[in-house]
Symmetry: C2
Subunit: 241 residues, 2 copies
């Protein structure tokens, strides 16, 4: 089915969450990568536990909590100034280098683009503003609106509700394999940007397509976009008769 | 409030899931511990994702799927005989050494003991049989009965439904910190056996008590058990008048 809109995950897909590792490495030489990885794992874990148990807190809180745990687990300084500096870095995550160009190309195809993120707006809006990516998107959808995190269906439902297309007519793009699978379970077409060359998840479902960067998303959308609303060609007219 | 029953998690609490590492190390020298850890992490992750997305499969399936992913991620042989040997080991997990003695002491206190596990009965029953722990328990409750995994409330609800006490009158015991927190969120009293000396989870809730082995659970229950149904003492009779 032709793609009528494209929805992007934010953290890990548009923004490189591991770019905090550089600051972490400055603060804790030799431990930056380890801290960044543990922090990210715990952040996702806490988001899922809180959703499973109906104990929602905004992603900004979850992000801070998971950082504190990670610092303690690695026996690093968990004092407030350290926590604050690292959390603040989440508002300055780097954009993957190819993303701005790729988003510009997707815009030229005339499809609406949206973001659907676990993040709450106080986290996402400044990040989007400083990254310069804001103008590419027609909607910024947050799990905070439904007080659950991915992969809860209520979160993915924000796409159809806001953009007015069925999930099956939209492409959901994520660098997180579990998110691309969750979106497929929900009913989206999905694209997994497998930046790290991971094996696919063994969840009994697969994304519709996989690539290694946002460039591959552009190629996929080009060949699967729904026809623009133009006068039907001769052959199409024949089909309608 | 006095404890009227004790409910135990199985994997990690009664049975040492990392005891598969020994077989893994035999099969893949130098990689056993890493494989066992990744396998366990993915097993839990898949159980949560499937619950969040309403895509339940029994824990035996989740356990096999997560093993296949882990073998591929570590670029190890993922052929059927290898997978089967490792999965079979889940039916022969070692019991933590102090557990049988501790369970015997708890039984002597006259409290009903139960198991509440993510595992399905085809996984749990043979394991319980070969471990010799079976006779200590009055109920074997499985997430499979409600087709969701922890920390979904429906799973924890099996305790009150089966044992006939309010969750607040029962102690839930787990070596998994997230499980002890999930049980507390649900309404149980909970005890975290922190075998590995981990920092507490930063989930805004804490188990009622923490110890380092099942011996500490016995001590806790001894001092918090509800009074046995005996003739009221003089002072208690006064309270009733």
């Amino acid at each position: 089915m032709g793609i009528k809109a494209v929805i992007f995950d934010a953290y890990g897909t548009l923004f490189d969450v591991y770019s905090v590792a550089r600051l972490a490495e400055t603060l804790f030489p030799g431990q930056g990568a380890k801290l960044a990885e543990l922090w990210r794992d715990k952040q996702i874990e806490y988001s899922r536990l809180r959703t499973l148990s109906g104990q929602y807190r905004p992603f900004s809180q979850v992000t801070q909590d998971s950082l504190v745990f990670s610092l303690r687990k690695l026996r690093l300084d968990d004092s407030s100034p350290i926590v604050q500096r690292l959390v603040d870095q989440y508002g300055r995550l780097e954009v993957f280098p190819e993303n701005a160009g790729a988003l510009a190309e997707l815009c030229e195809l005339g499809l609406p683009l949206a973001i659907l993120s676990n993040g709450d707006l106080p986290m996402l809006e400044p990040l989007l503003a400083q990254s310069g990516l804001g103008p590419y998107f027609t909607a910024l959808l947050s799990a905070d609106q439904v007080r659950r995190f991915k992969t809860a269906p209520e979160v993915y439902q924000l796409g159809p509700d806001t953009l007015g297309h069925a999930a099956a007519q939209m492409l959901f793009v994520s660098s997180n394999a579990w998110d691309a699978c969750g979106a497929r379970w929900f009913g989206y077409q999905s694209f997994w940007i497998n930046r790290a060359g991971q094996p696919p998840e063994e969840l009994g479902i697969a994304p519709d397509a996989t690539g290694s960067s946002m460039r591959d998303v552009v190629a996929h959308v080009r060949s699967h976009a729904a026809a623009s609303p133009q006068p039907p060609s001769h052959s199409e007219r024949k089909d309608n008769e």
